[in-house]
Structure formats: structure tokens, C-alpha cells
């Protein structure tokens, strides 16, 4: 989980969490900050009350048993691929109320461009690599598993 950085003495730190608990992006951001880092970029993917124009009543995520270890792998890869100091990511599963976070991703770096690139890359990789599924129930009583025709 640590490597030598090209331009400083710090080892990168990567952490990942798949949980049914509430996740608050500010808590994860606080954990990656340091007096060395100059830039912290965060992403929060929040449960919306609408999707493709339809009103969402409730939403639930399901996580495969391998999700935690795969999320750790993705976090480490991001920390190695970018010039960053610290990477932290968490995905919530189970029912999530509208407005609360389903995914939080935070990155600290000395420089802002690396922080933005790494955070965007992290979110892309989570969506592509992590076996988690989203089930939406609409206000009209219908439901769907997202991304599945």
C-alpha cells in the first residue's frame, strides 16, 4: 500500500471501505489532509430524487462479497498511478435515503492537477470495477436494477 514517490519523501496512503453505515465526505477529507498537502479534491455521489426524468421513491445498493477487496485494489492503483499523497474511497450499500452519499472519493496531493485527475480517475474506476448494483423504486411503484435492460 505504500510506494516511493518521485518528488517527495512521503509514501502514498490508500484506504477503502464498503459499508452500510452513513458516509460523510468531510470525514474522509479530514483524514487525507496534512500540512504537506496543498490540494484536497473530493467527490460525493449522492442519491437523487430523480433519474432520467422519473421520480425516485427509494434506492438500495447491493454489494458483492468481493467489493471491499476490489475497492482496496482500486484505491492502491490510483495512489500509484498519480502523484498524490493520500487516497480514500468509501461505498455505502443497503438502503440509502435521498440526499445521502452512496460514494465518496477523496484525494490529497501537493498540486491540484494531480488531485483532480486522481479523484476523477478513482470515481471512474469504482464505477467500472466494483461489483455493486443499484436498485431504484419509482414513485409510480415500478422498480429497476440500474444498467440492466
Amino acid at each position: 500500500m505504500a510506494k516511493e514517490n518521485n518528488n517527495d519523501f512521503m509514501a502514498n496512503i490508500a484506504s477503502a471501505l464498503v459499508t452500510t453505515d452513513v458516509i460523510v465526505v468531510a470525514d474522509f477529507a479530514a483524514a487525507v489532509r496534512s500540512n504537506v498537502s496543498g490540494a484536497v479534491v473530493t467527490f460525493s455521489g449522492d442519491v437523487r430524487d430523480n433519474d432520467h426524468g422519473r421520480a425516485v421513491a427509494s434506492l438500495e445498493y447491493e454489494a458483492h462479497p468481493t467489493a471491499q477487496s476490489l475497492l482496496e485494489k482500486v484505491a492502491r492503483e490510483i495512489a500509484e498511478r498519480h502523484e498524490v499523497l493520500s487516497v480514500s474511497v468509501a461505498h455505502r450499500h443497503g438502503p440509502i435515503p435521498i440526499g445521502e452519499s452512496a460514494l465518496v472519493a477523496v484525494v490529497s496531493a501537493k498540486h491540484r492537477k494531480a488531485a483532480f485527475s486522481a479523484c476523477a480517475d478513482l470515481v471512474d474506476e469504482v464505477k467500472a470495477q466494483i461489483p455493486i448494483w443499484k436498485h431504484q423504486v419509482f414513485t409510480d411503484g415500478t422498480d429497476e436494477w440500474v444498467n440492466c435492460a
Binding site: 455521489g45 445498493y61 447491493e62 458483492h64 462479497p65 468481493t66 461505498h91 452512496a102 460514494l103 470515481v123 469504482v126 464505477k127 467500472a128 470495477q129 466494483i130 461489483p131 455493486i132 448494483w133 443499484k134 436498485h135 436494477w145 440500474v146 444498467n147 440492466c148 435492460a149
Partner: protein
Amino acid sequence: MAVTLRFYAAARKATGTSEMTLEPSVALHLLDQAVAAHPKLLGVLGQCSFLLNEVALHDFDTQVPDGSTLDVLPPFAGG
């Protein structure tokens, strides 16, 4: 002698069950039997990826040995 097929998310919705127990065979034959038992699975299966004992499975001619778990994973939708 048995293997377990596990169905997640839309695959579970299509089969109406979270798992099936079958005799060891090649993956393709196991999935054929699952579709035979649960015809709606056919509409989902083409979009799925598969894990054999938690490792990605790409070759459907692979023999699934006794005690194995074959997971049927619909397209991911995290984030």
C-alpha cells in the same frame, strides 16, 4: 458432488432465487441448466460477467469442480 450458482441483483430478480445447486460440469452447461429452470435469466445473461470462486471467468468451457461457486454478476452500477 455439487456446485453453487449465485445470482445477484437483476439476475436474482430474473431467477427469483439467490442460488441454485447443480452437479459439477462445464460453466456453459451449468448456465444452460439455470436458463432452463428460469427462462427470464436469458434476458440478463448476455450482459453478465462471471466469477468462479471469486476469480473472473471468461472461458465457458471451464470445468467447474465440486464445491465451487459460480457467481452471475449483472452490469455494475456503483457510484
